[in-house]
Subunit: 434 residues, 4 copies
């Protein structure tokens, strides 16, 4: 045991009235909601990068966190892993997620990166033997190193494409080895800084080719998890190709990959793209590509990715409502892609941020389940479209033509009277549950 | 002749040093650029709605324009047409565009709307006999009337769908009759005000079905022009389904319509979606769906659709650069979907706004052509990707696998060195031309 | 009695478990919180304009509401007033607010406007004799009529200034007569559409002069209420001079009016200016100019003023927290400057929107009060600054100099260690109450 | 001579038709415009931080620039200075600007920081003996080090206030010693991450006290330059107290400092605050606090501070128009607070970015001067307000009252007719010059 979290106890569910900061008030993993344990609904994951790799820097300031494991050495990487698993235990976290660059020291070249990764993956594997925390997903960091400054799959230099492809192979191997349930691709540099030096068509083809090889390799090695793309509109790039769910869908369709890939949706990325979180989830569900979520929060008055921990129950409830309506998670889960503020420099801050977020999510999911079980909202929604059950209406969706419809409008004198959308009444209804 | 524009002469090209407000300084329709007359490159169109139908209202204020043709009567609609064609002549405008609701009085029902439309279409047809101004495109206004408040194609009420479908038929008929070169669909209400009363999946199917009928009818009647969708992310709706070019493309692919429909891209809509205008054009070109443009300008510090006349040459040049690179317009053109400010209440303001915009576009297009003819920018772009011409690089885009690439990275010790993106140098290059 | 709200009963508090849509679940006016009745804390007001004057138009669509009182005639204005007071009674609303243009027919000139206003003010006065609903504030609409298109106080035309000044006089007279507790100025057109035709310095002087006359007249007629400016950054203007609370404060200081004027803060306007609602309230409180609030909600993904009814308790709680911390309302109150969506066309929608909002505010205020009474948050805040109680620290705020401080830093070797800001822990704390 | 810029010649003015990348096309320092040399108008300064201290990091990626002087050692700092002055010479830059942290190695405490600063200031002083490049302004970096994570002047810990105050003293000493013409304060951390742990009133008082000591010390040491505050709305802080020009003005008035302090306005910060650059300049001029500019460009589709080099002549022209109209710079100048993109890793990129920007500014200023000399725009502006010259209009700005004005409106039947704002016509006019 390290002493990083010394004096911080493992968190237990104590109920809403607990006076204990280090307790869950709403997240009782064993509570059964809609026939399933809360833990199995929410499938919480801790993100290795924000919690253990990010030093607290921002564009105007340097490191604020003082972590004994910072530095590029195998022993430090192991110390980091030790502390990580201590935190997983304190939080009773069922899952974690990582990039290769989070867990291993940076090497001088691909070979050294791979060796370092293998050593740490073995170390994590050993720790997982005696931990209940599993791997929700792994991924490769193809955006931080300067070699990727102009992209990985979409780089103008084929050697970078090659380096990235090889790196993804090692990360898929690591994910498989550790029993990961998904493999994620976030293309932070797959986009452009300026259109004037960029060939959009060529870069799209490169990106599709790269993704196809990932899919092929998945099948080759027998990885059963899902391949997930994580949309984001911009930042770090001026424009990112995986802009939002609808854009990713178009890309997948264009290259015939829509049955092989799903999306990992992040609240903050949805906001930056001009959408609500629930919009992106509902869109993915309607397109059949919903996979998993990165739960966090973007400050509404900031134009960059703030990656805060969620703290607004009514908003979170709407997100889980769409997830439950779509059948809940299968391979996916709730990954906290959230970082404590750079002023939150105490070890306790790391724990409390997660504890608070887990409670918020539990409250949100329970409210969403209650709304679904109540059924009124869905009944109102169905009722709004009920006119489409009539034969003449149905026919318009099958064999009518503009001419046949025009004829009917004239002959029947169709002159529709608008009906109330009842938005405020439905918002009141939702507020009974949140 | 009406006396609306009395004392305003027809505008002629007088060169950059002219002291005459009512002249073109840069737009000489007969100037040959890259082997084509400027007029044939730019294909300017006046938008009927902003110039002749909009009363100057905004969400906080009423009518400011005092036009003798305002009101719902056939005679007033004819007066409006008279003035419109007088303006077309003053501007020497090769094209115009309209919605049904711009040109005809509003009727009490579909039959009366249709009758009114037919009368005015005949009247326009007569005027076009003696005018050189042609129809760039027609469209149906399926968003202003209260019946469409919850959408047309995506309305929960099938009667509204029917009314909208019949209306589109009449507008396609009108467009064909007047020799229109495109037919446009802008779905201002095809989206939602709140997700909580909306069924995304069903509405997408409705929208696709509606579009399919439009395509079928186009072929049926032998309309040779293009069907164009105009993307916009929001406003009036909280979310609009045709969010941006990439979203429209995904929608078309989903329903197998990508070979039948192109896009009409508006500068202001691009901005509201978080994109530059040139991004949207380049994206459409790379996806093979570029059709036409709505040229205007959105105030960068406003979050709503300001529809101003373009006035920034360097920006406009980048847009035309992408258009010329994609081969220029075929059926499309430069429609001024722009409105004079509501304080610009004089008839002269209407003329001067268009004259200034035509000059701006002419300057932009000539700068873009010079850049293309110079060739340096494209040479630099190709050079940046030149590494992909090597056999090993090409192989990665055809038959390599993650494993074969990994092997090569290891055996060849591939460790790429980043190369400068040269953004500022390229921006300097562009500034030699604008 | 009109039959507009027929079959809709007066709303009563029935508790959180009520199954009745037409009831309050959380707003019990007589509930005592922090020693005061909820009604006296919240001081709810209905806004005449959104509820009774707005026709449901937006920039892309026409009227959706079908109200029997629409039109410009005294009898219709009286009918509107009848319905308004019926709604006040159904809601048990303690207050309402109005612009002159909301309540009277539009006249052909100032004299007719004044006559119309006087007639309706008398009519409202009679209704108020038998109603418990009082006037929170009155105001003049100096932005909708075309004469104000370039501003009222800041118009380049002195005749418009004069017309606006005279109009404000009549509205102040009306407010006094009806016992209004505040008089509000919102300068929707006091700003500019383009800087290139605008003289900022001159317009600021005009605006200050106008405001000074308002203050003088207030004292002259013995109006005891507060004069309130309502900040907004833009829309309808491209730039509005009363941008936000800090800007208004600077303006007041510049002209020595900071003791005579307070601010009326709107949630949606705060958002459009890049601030949270609570920020604007806390800023005003710290500057000594907090007056009243326009409670509503702006859609976070829209860039225009959506004026929705509030529906997020955690957010509303933070606003009331700042208000309670500042001592609560004195002359101010909670005005619902919110409009039902244009699709909410049923009379019941008007009632339900207000009922839901009143419940949301009641929940927010009760949560805020509980947080304040708990005291932990304020204790943590004070503790964070506790170092400033030391004598050497205090001295820095009175008579130290850069030199004396430098000397002390050197002699004492001051080398501060950062301390956690504890943001997530405090957010968890707040989430115990909301 | 170092060999960092080897093979890059000193840039000379060669005219618009030059084919040489390393030349000025529009910036001829000796060209006389409105009676003054261009160099004396523009007063260009190179910013030490972006060009020599920033490593190319962003929130998602590490260092991309490979500079031989990176590292914390006196010798490296001297090498950096050598290269900086070589660049100043290549660019023929009349000025530079710096933060203490840009030029000196970071020390372990205040004493070591001061020693390091003094060594480097002496070194810079020696270099300036043989260089024509002067110091436009100096400043202290009170935002990057973790000690400042919660602010400097506004820190809850008085020791940080003390450390910051002592640091500013050393930077003011350095600025004086090097003949700096201004001293700048940018409060990147003077604001908050969350309102819930913040005492706005106390922090404002701290900030004012800090500023007062700076002013006192300026007078004490006989520094003749201007004290400048640089507004920015947010980033790195969620909210920054010096939000925009109007906010800074209100702060200065509140504490009686408006005659002692001016503003340094940055294009990118203006954009982030929702303003155009020219708006902020015109506002500062009208308030009498215009000081200097940080010339750069913010990407309009990004919500964070992109600090790009300017490249749009029409926009830059509007900024210089306001500056020239206000009388031009006195102590201020055009500081390029702009960074090459992190992919622009070649030394030549640094030179070309500045060269291009200097040309853009020269074109902008010359266009602005031509517009002013032409006089039409100002004549049109004056004409718009000409009505205010009438005696009755003037009287309204002096001794009229709401009552006297009302009487006049009635007696004279004042019923103003709106006049066109002529926005498009004026935009056309401007486009003759840019």
């Amino acid at each position: 045991m390290t002493d990083f979290f010394k004096d911080i106890p493992a968190l237990r569910y104590e109920g809403a009235d607990s006076a204990n900061d280090f307790a869950f008030r709403h997240y009782n993993p064993d509570e059964v909601v809609m026939g399933k344990r809360l833990e199995d609904h929410l499938r919480f994951a801790v993100a290795y990068w924000h919690s253990f790799a990010w030093p607290g820097t921002d564009p105007f300031g340097g490191q604020t966190f003082d972590r004994p494991w910072f530095g590029d050495a195998i022993d430090l990487a192991k110390l980091k892993a030790d502390v990580a698993f201590e935190m997983f235990e304190i939080l009773n976290a069922p899952y974690f997620c990582f990039h290769d660059a989070d867990i291993r020291p940076e090497g001088a070249d691909f070979a050294e990166n791979t060796r370092n990764l293998e050593i740490i993956v073995d170390y994590l594997g050993e720790k997982m033997q005696v931990s209940r925390t599993k791997l929700l997903w792994g991924t490769a960091n193809l955006f931080s190193h300067r070699r990727y400054m102009a992209g990985a799959a979409t780089n103008p230099d084929p050697d970078v494409f090659a380096f990235g492809a090889a790196t993804v192979k090692t990360c898929m191997d690591a994910t498989l080895k550790l029993g990961g349930e998904n493999y994620v691709l976030w293309g932070g540099r797959e986009g452009y800084e300026t259109l004037i030096n960029t060939d959009l068509g060529r870069e799209a083809d490169q990106m599709a080719r790269f993704l196809s090889m990932v899919i092929d390799y998945k099948h080759k090695i027998g990885f059963k998890g899902a391949i997930l793309i994580e949309p984001k509109p911009q930042e770090p790039s001026k424009h990112q190709y995986d802009y939002d769910v609808a854009t990713v869908y178009g890309f997948l369709r264009r290259y015939g990959l829509e049955n092989e890939v799903k999306v990992n949706i992040e609240q903050g990325h949805a906001i930056l793209a001009g959408h609500s979180f629930e919009h992106e989830i509902a869109t993915a569900a309607s397109l059949g590509i919903f996979g998993s979520i990165d739960m966090n929060r973007n400050d509404y008055q900031s134009g960059w990715d703030t990656d805060q921990f969620p703290n607004n129950v009514p908003e979170v409830a709407l997100a889980y409502y769409e997830i439950l309506k779509a059948g809940g998670f299968t391979t996916g889960g709730t990954n906290f892609d959230a970082k404590i503020r750079r002023q939150s420099i105490e070890p306790a801050d790391l724990i409390l941020a997660h504890a608070g977020a887990m409670d918020i999510c539990a409250r949100g999911l329970k409210a969403a389940a209650a709304m679904l079980e109540d059924g009124t909202l869905e009944a109102k929604r169905r009722e709004r479209y009920a006119g489409w059950d009539a034969p003449a209406a149905k026919a318009m969706l099958t064999d009518a033509t503009l001419e046949s419809i025009t004829e009917r409008v004239l002959s029947e004198g169709i002159n529709p009277t608008p009906r109330s959308g009842r938005q405020e009444a439905l918002e009141n209804l939702i507020n009974r549950f949140v």
